[in-house]
Every structure is written in C-alpha cells, then in structure tokens.
C-alpha cells in the first residue's frame, strides 16, 4: 500500500519532512525513509538551543541495518525535541509523519521552505528511486 504524504508538508531528497506553523518548523523523517531503514532502535537528536543549518546533519537514526544521518531541511534554532523517541524509537516506524516528529525549529529564514519538494514532487522522486 502506498503511503500518503501530507499535502501541507514539504520534503527533502534526503527523506525528511517539514511542516511550518508561524515561524516554527516541525521536522521528521518520511515513511519511505523508515521503510528503507527497517526497525529503528535509536534516535539521536540535537538539544534545544542548538543551531541547525539547512542541508547539514542535525542527528542520526539507527536501525538494525544501519546508522543514517538526519539532515535539517531548514536553518534555525532548535526549540523542542521529541523526548518520547528516546524510550520509544519504534514510533518512527509506526507513525513517522505524526507522533514521531523529531525536532521543532524556530526558522531564521522562512523562505527556505519554499525551495523544498512538495508532496507530489517527493512522491514521484521516491517512485523513481524504487524502480
């Protein structure tokens, strides 16, 4: 069954999603990413107060297969981190687009988001890599 990618989210080719409310962006990894990774066993995230830069590593996700970097889709300051993932990394597999959000960032350049992929663009991007 093909996963649904929320229309109001934006996406990266590195398989992160971001959704913006006011000047706050919430970031997570996509359903495609969690499927490729397999069972996630550990999530390493930045601390509130840390700066993140668009396109640069902000953390990592460890599955039984591999450890993968998580890249920040946007630039800004981390204001909140999803503490639940520390004890329940399986949430990333269960609800990647919802409950398993990873960090909230105060955007320093909200226009950045406009350059990210739309749901439709992301969908066709991953269909290309699935072949």
């Amino acid at each position: 069954m093909a996963a649904t990618y929320p229309e109001n989210y934006r996406y990266t080719k590195e398989h992160e999603w971001v959704v913006v409310e006011g000047d706050t962006a919430t970031i997570g990894i996509t359903d495609y990413a969690q499927k490729e990774l397999g069972d996630v066993v550990y999530v390493d995230l930045p601390q509130p107060g840390d700066s993140v830069v668009a396109g640069k590593t902000m953390g990592s996700v460890e599955s039984v297969k591999a450890v993968s970097d998580v890249y920040s889709p946007v630039t800004g300051e981390v204001i909140e981190v999803n503490q639940k993932l520390a004890d329940a990394p399986e949430k990333v597999n269960e609800d990647p687009h919802g409950e398993a959000w990873m960090v909230k960032v105060r955007l320093s350049n909200p226009a950045e988001v406009e350059s990210l992929l739309t749901a439709a663009e992301y969908q066709s991007y991953i269909e290309g890599s699935e072949s």
């Binding site: 069972d39 066993v41 039984v64 297969k65 990394p89 399986e90």
Partner: protein, 495 residues
C-alpha cells in the same frame, strides 16, 4: 526416567553463576605449615578486601566443562569455511603457533633491556623489512593494534607531514564504497570527511575526484581492490590527480589478500597504507585476535612514525626515541608482539613465491564462486573481481527473502554467514570472500548450499525467512535486543 546428557553440540549451557553451590572449590591447598596470620593484623584492616558476594563456587571439572561447552557454541575457521567478505577469514597455520611458543619469544618481557632481547628485536626488524618488500613502501610501524587503529595512525601521519610542510589541510575524501571505519578514522584525526560517488563500475570516478580535490584536500582514503572486490584500474591516475594538488593517497589494505606477492601499492602511487596481519597474514582473527594493523609509508612520512623506532648499530638492535617529528606512541610497547611473530612465520614459511600462489588461489576461489552462483543470484556490478565478489538479494527479494534471511539459512547448512548488507552501494548485498584456504570440495559444498537456498527462496520462502532452524538458539530478536537491551544478569532472588 533416565536422564542422559545430550551431545554437546546441541546442549544448552547455563551461566557459571547458576552452577554455583556454596563451599565448592576448584583447588585444594596443602595444610598450613606456618602459624596462621590474620591479614587485618599484618596489613591493616583498611587494606583487606571484604569478600565479593555472589561469586560462583564451582569445581575444576565444572569450570573446564562450562567453558569447553561454550566454545562449541562458536563457529571457527577450524570448523569450516568462513566466507565473510572483506574480512579475509583464512586458516591460522599451526606452524605460526609453534614458532610463537618458542621459549625465547614466549617468556620475554617488554621491560627487558634491549641487549637481552636482540632476537626479538630482529624478529620485529625482519617483519618490518618483509612488509616493506611486499607493499613496496619505505618504512613500517608495527605498533597499531588493529586495522582501524592503523587507519587513525596513518591519518595522523598525513596530518603531521602536511603541517610540518607548512600547508595544513582540512578535508579527506572517502569513496562511498569505503569501509565504515575509514570516515570514522578521518573524523577522529580531526579531518572533515567528504564522500565521493563511485562510477557505474563501482570504481573511483576520475571526473568526480578531479572536481573534488583542491588545495584543502589532505588525502584520499581508498581501498584497493575496493569493497566490491574490483581493482581500481585507474589507481595510477588517481594518485596523479591527488599529487598534482599536493594531496596524499592513503590505501586501506584490508583487501591486500588480492595483491600480496603480485602488485605493490608503493609502485602505484600509494603514500601511506595499513595492513591487517589478522587478515592477509593469517594471524587469528575475530574474537581470538588480538589484531595488528601495521602502517607502511613512503620516505616522506617516515620522520613522523610512532616512537620508538628500531635502529641497528654496531652493538646490535636498539630502540631510538630521538625522533622530534614523531606523532608519538600509538600503543604501549611495540604492538601485539605475539601476533607479529606469527605473521613473520607465515611470510617466511611461504616465501615470495608462496605468497604469490596464495594470492592467485584466493582470486581463483572467488572467481569460481562468482561463476557458479551467477545463474542464481543477481550480480549488480559486472567488472572482473579479485578475491571477493558481491551479489545482491534482488532476485529473492520479490519472494520476501532478503540477504539477512539467506545468511541465516546458510547457518543451517553448516557455514558461517557471508557479509550481509555491505558494501552500502549495493542494496541487499551478499559479499563472499572464500580465501585461498578452501579446497574445491569445501567450495562446492558452499556453492551447493547457496544454490539450494536460492531454490528454497522460490519454493518455500517461509523456510528461509524463519532460519536458522538447526541451531541451539533460533533467530534472535535483534530489534528488541537493540531497543531494550538487557546487559546485566540478575540473580533469581534479586528479581
């Protein structure tokens, strides 16, 4: 009911703590023939340790049986083929052990004065010379205790040399097919890692390299043959591109088993490299170890090698500490000496021609496996391979059977699994390195097992997905083990 001990190969073993019963001892001391002394009076109460609670109390034969049975849980090269790709799990010849057990080598101490251990120092010098000859490099340090340690040492040498030349740099390039330790070593040496993509043949892409190398590039870290088992056919051009910009070429020697006795990295432009004595040079590998990761360098890097360096003077061999440019020690004493002795024994027992034959046999074996399995497993990169080959699970994945399942099923056939899901540039990788150790008979057994598993994946995929079926412990739940690890045993009564 008559209780009968099962054959040990299928017998489960409790923890030594669970076998304990109060008062049992593994030894019996003769009666005291001097007056008893209370240690608290003799040493002071503060210096006498309380007894450690809950230590296992067992007899000698229980200790022996416990550990002997546990040893049967393991798979070893002495049991059968160990096709773990990029690991070179070759046989550890018994002659190595005989030589390492020689009285004069076995009982020496690293604090003995140089003049009382001249033979041991000569062993070290002889191994350094042999490794220089095999690699075509100018000098070798035997200190690093394993491959990744060698990588770090090599990177620190690069750093020291560039800084001494007054042109420090920040970036080290690593191909996407590299061993995971490469970028880790680069980062530990304080460099930034920059990945470069491989071309469609799985080799370093010259155009991508040319574009990536600039005045800030310290080195390229390349494995040759690479992790696909493919010889980097443009390695001379790779070296030229780097050298033109003042960068160095580091070679990860993990796959030296494809080159020893045939091709010398020093002659194709490598400036610094490490070897794994526990791979190419037949010293014990894996849990048995310890490892040894010598680093070989060209003249230019020699002044920076770890302290001390062995020198030969009229009075004999001695350790020289007067090397102001050295990066310092990277390990206590002079490396894992016992391992060095074994590697030298291997080299001398083979001689140059023997090493060359071993390499040719290793390549022949891998090519044989590749040809025989090609009709059954997808071979994503078709370039000629050397001592190992990499298939993928693409044909089996349609039935839900992945590389990990095939590897687990291989255990039921009596083989150690191949390397799973590596290199990362191949999705669902099945990486096989037979080494020269295996006879055609053993290779055919392995090939038959792999073909049989390919058939099972077609006809009865559930059988493969549920493997292993014949082991004491069936498939372990790696996910729960990683998410909720239990790392401490708890006594029944403490639960």
């Amino acid at each position: 009911m008559i209780k009968k001990a099962r054959q040990h190969v299928s017998q489960n073993e409790s923890l030594i703590f669970e076998r304990s019963s109060p008062g049992k001892r593994a030894y019996q001391l003769p009666p005291l023939d001097v007056p008893a002394v209370d240690p608290k009076d003799a040493l002071g109460a503060g210096n006498v340790r309380e007894e450690i609670g809950g230590f296992p109390e067992v007899s000698e034969v229980e200790v022996v049986r416990h550990f002997t049975r546990l040893s049967t849980y393991n798979y070893a090269i002495d049991h059968g083929m160990y096709p773990l790709g990029s690991c070179t799990m070759k046989y550890n010849p018994r002659v190595n052990e005989a030589v390492a057990a020689l009285e004069g080598l076995r009982w020496i101490h690293p604090y003995q004065p140089d003049e009382s251990v001249q033979g041991a120092l000569e062993v070290i010098a002889a191994l350094e010379n042999a490794l220089c000859e095999i690699t075509g490099m100018d000098a070798v340090t035997l200190q690093p205790a394993a491959g990744a340690h060698g990588e770090l040492t090599g990177m620190l040498l690069v750093r020291a040399a560039l800084e001494a030349e007054g042109r420090p740099r920040r970036v080290v390039l690593v191909p996407d097919s590299a061993h995971g330790t490469n970028p880790a070593s680069v980062a530990m040496a304080g460099y930034q890692v920059r990945n470069i993509a491989s071309n469609e043949k799985g080799m370093v892409d010259l155009a991508a390299l040319e574009a990536a190398v600039d005045e800030d590039t310290a080195a390229l870290m390349v494995t040759n043959p690479n992790t696909l088992g493919v010889f980097e056919e443009n390695i001379v051009a790779v070296a030229r591109i780097l050298h033109a910009k003042g960068a160095l070429l580091y070679m990860d020697g993990a796959n030296m088993n494809a080159l020893a006795g045939i091709s010398r990295p020093g002659e194709f432009g490598v400036d610094v490299m490490h070897l794994n004595l526990h791979k190419t040079f037949s010293t014990p590998h894996g849990g048995g170890g310890p490892g040894s990761g010598p680093v070989a360098v060209k003249k230019r890097l020699e002044p920076f090698l770890p302290l001390p360096r062995l020198v030969n003077e009229e009075a004999g061999w001695r350790w020289d500490y007067g090397r102001p440019q050295s990066i310092g020690r990277v390990r206590a004493f002079y490396g894992n000496f016992g391992v060095l002795v074994r590697a030298l024994a291997y080299i001398l027992a083979h001689g140059g021609e023997g090493l060359r034959r071993a390499t040719l046999d290793a390549i022949l074996n891998a090519v044989y496996v590749r040809k025989k399995l090609e009709p059954y497993y997808e071979l994503p990169h078709k370039a000629p391979t050397m001592h190992e080959c990499v298939f993928s699970d693409a044909r089996q994945a349609g039935r839900g059977v992945r590389t990990m399942d095939i590897a687990k099923r291989l255990i039921d056939y009596g083989f150690h699994p191949y390397t799973v899901s590596f290199p990362l540039i191949v999705k669902g990788a099945i990486m096989i390195e037979p080494t020269e150790t295996e006879s055609k008979q053993e290779l055919d057994l392995f090939i038959d097992a792999m073909i049989s598993i390919a058939r099972e994946a077609e006809e009865n995929p559930e059988l493969v997905k549920g493997a292993p079926h014949m082991t004491r412990i069936r498939r372990v739940d790696e996910v729960t083990a990683a998410r909720k690890p239990v790392v401490r045993w708890t006594r029944e009564e403490e639960k």
